[in-house]
């Protein structure tokens, strides 16, 4: 099958193409160079003048696993406002803050996204996370597995085990849970909360294991680096949401001593304590540090106003946040000597000083960080806002007058204390293509995704350029997944499965001996049954696995 997309204006930053009129050819799911003259073209799409980008990639979105399902179960009233009817090809479901898996897959596709990555998969919950991702159609998926609060790792670190052994354990966990990267959440803090510690800064010690977040971060970042895991250690830092945490975040950047590190939903970690209300923007200092330290990448975790739900592994910080639950209900869980989770529904209000400033801080970060290759567009779905708000967020970034109009509607004191009005920057289509395609693919090590060069998977999105960028990005004309037309005019037209991206870093198999003993003595299941096998994704989940190479 040979397909031609004819006459589109191509934005393909990975190949340095910035708005050039260019035909794209697809054969059997892959992009190819222009075929020899006379080749039979089976189908031509005339997209003259339309904007063409690779399919978008969400590097941080909570789409599967226990805490997401807790959020779904806890919020029937939220689903009722967004019931999704079945059609002749799509299944029914629900949307908004904690959408059903099926609706998640459809809506991402309809927005031109072709891959989504679950950032907080607990090893012990990996099986269920993959079940849910298997039921998220069309898009590709993958997950970062959570370490750094599990008793096994903390015992290793406390026992001064050598770094090679820690790397073996990290690699083993990636394989056993079918993960694509490593995430750490409030390093050591989830464990500390189990010992009733309520606060843990970068250099404070976990009362039981006597190790600090700084040591945990260094050890994990080094393991990730040594193993050649493409995506840097994915870090949800200490003190999320705490006024003044800007200092912790700057220290965290320094602490890693040049190793690659990804700081996620950094908006929640960029707060100062200035002003009458002891809450201020730290965006300028954070952006300066990010600009200076090329080993650091970030995603923003932008908040947008309205009802949502926060779902996080960070029990320590979520417990503190539960006082603000809206509606007033919340779930906290300690989980299997692995980690924990906290689910707190939340409503961000534009007339609230704190919420309006959070909104402004996120936007300031977007506009102050120079290099779009190191900053990714996220709302930390659903924590800052549901992923369906992305087109609105893109408009805020691309349209200064719209942004200023919005700024004039939020809490006046917050608007006044933010420098947002003075920031003139408007993102270009090229920069949007970097931030939502090329950069995430590069960061995750997905060599054949996020670009439109020969050999790439034909994940392609075609938009009609529009002055109103929200309208433009909400409903692409065409979305192709692996060469198949899956959405047209913002509606799904074909259901495919999507693949699961994983890694298989090498490690010393000898580690299973001590792990086996540990499982037998302390865990509640056998090591053999803990490991998620390929056939569970392939046969039981009717999906397929793509093994990405390590560096």
């Amino acid at each position: 099958m040979l397909i031609k997309l004819s006459g589109g204006i191509v934005y393909d930053p990975a190949n340095g193409i910035n708005g050039k009129r260019q035909d794209i050819y697809v054969r059997d799911g892959r992009i190819i160079d222009k075929p020899v003259a006379g080749s039979k073209i089976d189908k031509t799409y005339n997209i003259a003048g339309k904007v063409v980008m690779a399919g978008a990639i969400d590097i941080h979105t909570h789409i599967g696993g226990g805490k997401v399902n807790i959020a779904r179960i806890m919020l029937p009233e939220d689903h009722r406002h967004d019931s999704v009817r079945k059609t002749s090809i799509t299944r029914s479901g629900c949307g908004h803050a904690a959408p059903s898996t099926l609706t998640t897959g459809y809506r991402y596709t309809e927005m031109g996204y072709t891959a989504c990555f679950e950032p907080a998969m607990l090893p012990i919950n990996a099986r269920q996370a993959h079940m849910e991702m298997a039921d998220t159609p069309i898009v590709d998926k993958g997950a970062y597995v959570l370490l750094g609060n599990d008793d096994y790792f903390l015992r290793m670190l406390a026992g001064r085990k050598d770094q090679a052994a820690i790397s073996d354990y990290v690699a083993w966990t990636i394989q056993a849970s079918q993960a694509l990267g490593i995430k750490v959440v409030n390093p050591g803090g989830i464990s500390a909360f189990k010992f009733n510690q309520r606060k843990l800064d970068l250099d404070e010690t976990n009362v039981y294991y006597n190790v600090t977040p700084r040591e945990i971060l260094k050890s994990l970042a080094k393991a990730v680096h040594d193993l050649g895991v493409p995506h840097p250690l994915h870090v949800h830092g200490c003190n999320l949401g705490v006024p003044g945490n800007l200092r912790t975040t700057l220290d965290t950047i320094k602490s890693i001593e040049g190793l690659p590190m990804h700081l996620t939903h950094i908006q929640f970690h960029s707060y100062g304590t200035e002003g009458d209300r002891n809450f201020s923007s730290g965006a300028a200092q954070i952006a300066e540090a990010v600009n200076k330290n090329k080993n650091i990448s970030i995603d923003v975790g932008q908040i947008l106003f309205g009802q949502t739900v926060t779902a996080s592994g960070d029990t320590m910080r979520q417990y503190d946040g539960h006082w603000h639950a809206h509606p007033k209900k919340w779930v906290m869980m300690d989980i299997e000597c692995d980690a924990g989770c906290g689910v707190v529904p939340f409503q961000y209000q534009d007339k609230s000083f704190v919420n309006a400033l959070q909104w402004a801080i996120g936007l300031e970060l977007f506009l102050l960080v120079d290099d779009p290759w190191r900053i990714f567009l996220t709302t930390d779905h659903p924590n800052g806002a549901p992923f369906t708000t992305y087109p609105h967020l893109i408009r805020l970034l691309m349209d200064r007058s719209f942004r200023n109009d919005m700024l004039s509607t939020v809490n006046k004191a917050a608007a006044k204390s933010s420098i947002l009005a003075s920031l003139d920057r408007e993102y270009s289509l090229y920069e949007i293509a970097i931030m939502t395609r090329a950069a995430p693919a590069r960061s995750l090590g997905l060599r054949d995704r996020g670009h439109l060069g020969s050999g790439a998977a034909a994940d392609i999105t075609v938009y009609t350029e529009h002055k109103n960028k929200e309208r433009m990005f909400a409903k692409p004309d065409y979305v192709f997944k692996d060469g198949e037309l899956v959405a047209k005019s913002g509606k799904v037209v074909k259901i495919t499965k999507g693949s699961t991206h994983t890694l298989r870093p090498e490690y010393d198999k000898g580690i299973e001996k001590s792990l086996n003993t540990y499982f037998d003595r302390y865990m509640s299941i056998k090591l053999e049954n803990f490991k998620l096998q390929d056939d569970e994704i392939i046969e039981l989940g009717s999906g397929d696995i793509i093994i990405q190479p390590c560096n």
């Binding site: 079945k86 029914s92 209900k329 869980m333 300690d334 000597c337 046969e539």
Partner: protein, 425 residues
């Protein structure tokens, strides 16, 4: 890959017959006959070792092929205006297939144990809660309160695996664990026999447990209590227990919603959960719940991720509509609000439905007792014995892959349901 399932010894076999999902069973397959040789409780032994008669599908009392049976089943569902897909005693793929068929048939879906599950879900959806899981209790808990359950009767290996294991990471001296029972007719022998601290046993009627926990909550909050006793439990005893609770470093309160079998038991669960939440202001305390047997937790979880709601969902309007009262399977059956029934039980639960008097389709393991003659009967194999599958544990966090350790001539639930669904195309 083909595995010779005949005549071999299977190690670390997960057991799906209660929702602790013990996964260390050693099972011998001798020429197709199973014997649990190690680590099986009496429930596991009974279920793994029983022989499943080889039977064929039936329409009425007449044997038929699977194709005939699924075609006839589809006909019943297509003709119905409001069908119920119930029971749901199956694995993850069975639940997936059931949801797909329910949507196709514009039917209602619910699990057989939902009455119990909703005592918990009502509380979780309205107030939330603080919970923990098995390995956390095993390694951390210094105080464990059993409220209305002794755990032991329905979950025979809970004490061995969780309460008195040989090793624990943090709470090294397991014999220092304080066990407390609140409720009626509880078997406290396992805690008595353990040789550590003697258990505290506060006997009261099951429907008084909520009053006990609310009173403890009030004492902990510094309220003046005017009542001198709840049943035979004195205020002094409650004050003593409150002190223990507040001093505990990692306390856990365990309940089994299925054993709180009285009207408005969700209020008892609410009282327990609110106490636990309150205690977390100063110390660490968690709830733990035992239930979700017969694929109940699995059905709740799969239904939640596919529809947004845990169970009791109608697809009559073309989208999932949730109503924990109107769409209760047992209530729909009692009130005769459905005109066709498809019931699934592939683990061990007998099927007892009082005079359905509507067209009925039953998918069940052949040994399962049914108290009526269904219009269509389709024998199915059991996940974890006859085919691989996945299942989710009582704590809603841990799931396991179930194995195939014995051949069966019968199809899986998902195979049968997918065949019925295919009749709609």
């Amino acid at each position: 890959m083909t595995i010779d399932t005949e005549s071999r010894r299977h190690l670390n076999v997960p057991c799906p017959f209660c929702n602790l999902l013990c996964d260390d069973l050693v099972i011998e397959n001798r020429k197709g006959k199973l014997k649990v040789s190690q680590h099986g409780c009496h429930l596991a032994k009974k279920q793994f070792e029983q022989e499943q008669p080889g039977v064929t599908p039936r329409i009425g009392k007449k044997d038929c092929t699977l194709e005939d049976a699924t075609r006839a089943a589809a006909k019943i569902l297509k003709r119905s205006k409001q069908a119920l897909i119930g029971g749901l005693g199956t694995d993850v793929n069975g639940a997936r297939a059931a949801l797909q068929l329910t949507e196709k048939a514009s039917a209602i879906i619910d699990h057989m144990h939902s009455d119990a599950a909703f005592r918990n879900l009502d509380v979780m959806q309205n107030h939330g809660w603080v919970m923990t899981t098995m390995a956390e209790i095993k390694n951390r808990a210094d105080l464990i309160i059993f409220a209305g359950t002794d755990a032991n009767t329905n979950y025979p290996r809970f004490f061995e695996r969780v309460i008195y294991p040989n090793d624990s990471l943090v709470n090294a001296n397991k014999k220092n664990r304080q066990i407390v029972y609140i409720g009626e007719n509880l078997n406290i022998a396992p805690a008595k026999k353990a040789g550590g601290k003697q258990p505290i046993n506060l006997e009261c009627r099951q429907d008084k447990i909520g009053e006990v926990t609310s009173t403890i909550h009030a004492i902990a909050a510094g309220q003046e209590i005017v009542k001198h006793a709840i049943g035979s439990i004195t205020l002094a005893q409650l004050k003593e227990l409150t002190e223990l609770i507040q001093q505990a470093k990692y306390g856990v309160i365990v309940w089994a919603p299925g054993e709180l079998n009285f009207p408005y038991a969700e209020l008892t669960v609410q009282s327990i959960s609110e106490l636990v939440k309150y205690l977390n202001r100063t110390t660490r305390f968690s709830g733990f719940t035992l239930g979700g047997n017969e694929g109940g937790m699995t059905a709740n979880q799969v239904t939640a991720w596919q529809s947004g709601y845990p169970s009791r969902v109608s697809f009559a309007k073309g989208y999932p509509e949730y109503d924990p009262y109107r769409f209760s399977a047992w209530q729909l059956l009692r009130n005769k609000e459905i005109d066709a029934l498809l019931w699934i039980s592939s683990f061990s639960a007998p099927i007892e439905i009082a005079r359905p008097r509507i067209p009925t389709i039953v998918l069940a393991a052949p040994s399962i007792r049914i108290n009526f003659t269904p219009d269509i009967f389709i024998p199915v194999s059991t996940p974890g014995i006859n085919h691989v599958g996945q299942i989710i544990r009582t704590d809603s966090v841990v799931s396991l892959k179930l194995r195939k350790i014995q051949e069966s001539q019968h199809p899986s639930v998902s195979e049968v349901l997918n065949q019925i669904t295919n009749q709609y195309r």
